[in-house]
Subunit: 158 residues, 2 copies
DNA sequence: CTCCCTGCAAAGACTTTGCATGACG
DNA sequence: CGTCATGCAAAGTCTTTGCAGGGAG
């Protein structure tokens, strides 16, 4: 984990930004919650546990900065909030998401499934693809099982 | 166009909603600007030209309603506003978008390029796909040409 | 008469900004 | 010292809600 912080520090320095304690705390929170898709408010609350004096505005400013540096991706699942997602080590493509419409869980797909599609877009639409956002909405494994369980319970009642 | 309004009217009635004059005016604006990706405010201003007494809240409520009925899709390109996009006749998949990071133009892809990808997601992740959102960010044909023109102008200067 | 719909204004949620203060070289 | 970063509070967006009045059946 430390080396990832070092790396981010270098990225900041290369653009003459500093890794201040607040920024570092924010980055640590993001690293520790890599699986989640935290909103600015979520990050703020978590950072506050370690550095209670931090302000919400600083968190916003830091997330904005990290977003510019492509350290995090800002995403939006359609509820009114922006969420921030750390790019994985070495990944230059933006990972995909599976959002369950039943329970709201969000799963990530690291693998890039769009290589073929991008080729088609480039050749047929003449569009030079730089990045993509792909989200599937549907029913996750867990909720599918529950649906089956519920309907068989229904069966038993008869 | 009239038959599309009729169709929407029936959809509304089937859920015991009415197609009021305000709602109809809103739908007409959406139909007349199918190519664009209007924000609620945009729709409001356009509707106002025909029906000046309409309120912004009604537009929001109508768009929300149409969204529930799957007549329009609510999308979000990362600027802070929701945009509303009419579903095409008979389409049950949500079309894809090409957003140009130079000029901000948005192009649509009707064709469903994700059929194969969805199969993979279903079989390998056990996720039952119901809908998807796919947006590519990159450089559109027009801006690519301008970039070429600009760099050759640069050449000429030498 | 009842229920749904509307306009207006107010409230709300999320995010950005202005400004004085503070850290750092 | 000068610059960049911070915290706080205020201001901004965009969107939703409360409520009284209206309209259709």
């Amino acid at each position: 984990m430390e080396h990832r912080i070092e790396k981010i520090k270098k990225q900041l320095h290369s653009q003459s930004y500093k890794l201040t304690p607040q920024r570092e705390a924010t980055v640590r929170v993001l690293l520790e919650n890599e699986e989640d898709h935290l909103s600015a408010e979520d990050v703020y609350l978590l950072v506050k546990e370690k550095a209670p004096e931090i302000g919400l505005a600083t968190v916003y400013r830091t997330l904005e900065l990290l977003s510019e540096l492509k350290v995090v991706d800002k995403i939006n699942f359609g509820d009114g909030v922006s969420r921030y997602d750390l790019r994985k080590e070495g990944a230059e493509h933006f990972h995909h998401h599976l959002v369950c419409i039943e329970c709201g869980s969000v799963e990530e797909i690291e693998e890039d499934l769009l290589l073929d599609v991008e080729k088609i877009v480039e050749s047929q639409w003449g569009f030079e693809v730089k990045d993509h956002r792909l989200t599937f909405h549907g029913i996750c494994r867990v909720c599918q099982k529950q649906a089956v369980a519920a309907s068989s319970a229904e069966e038993n009642k008869k």
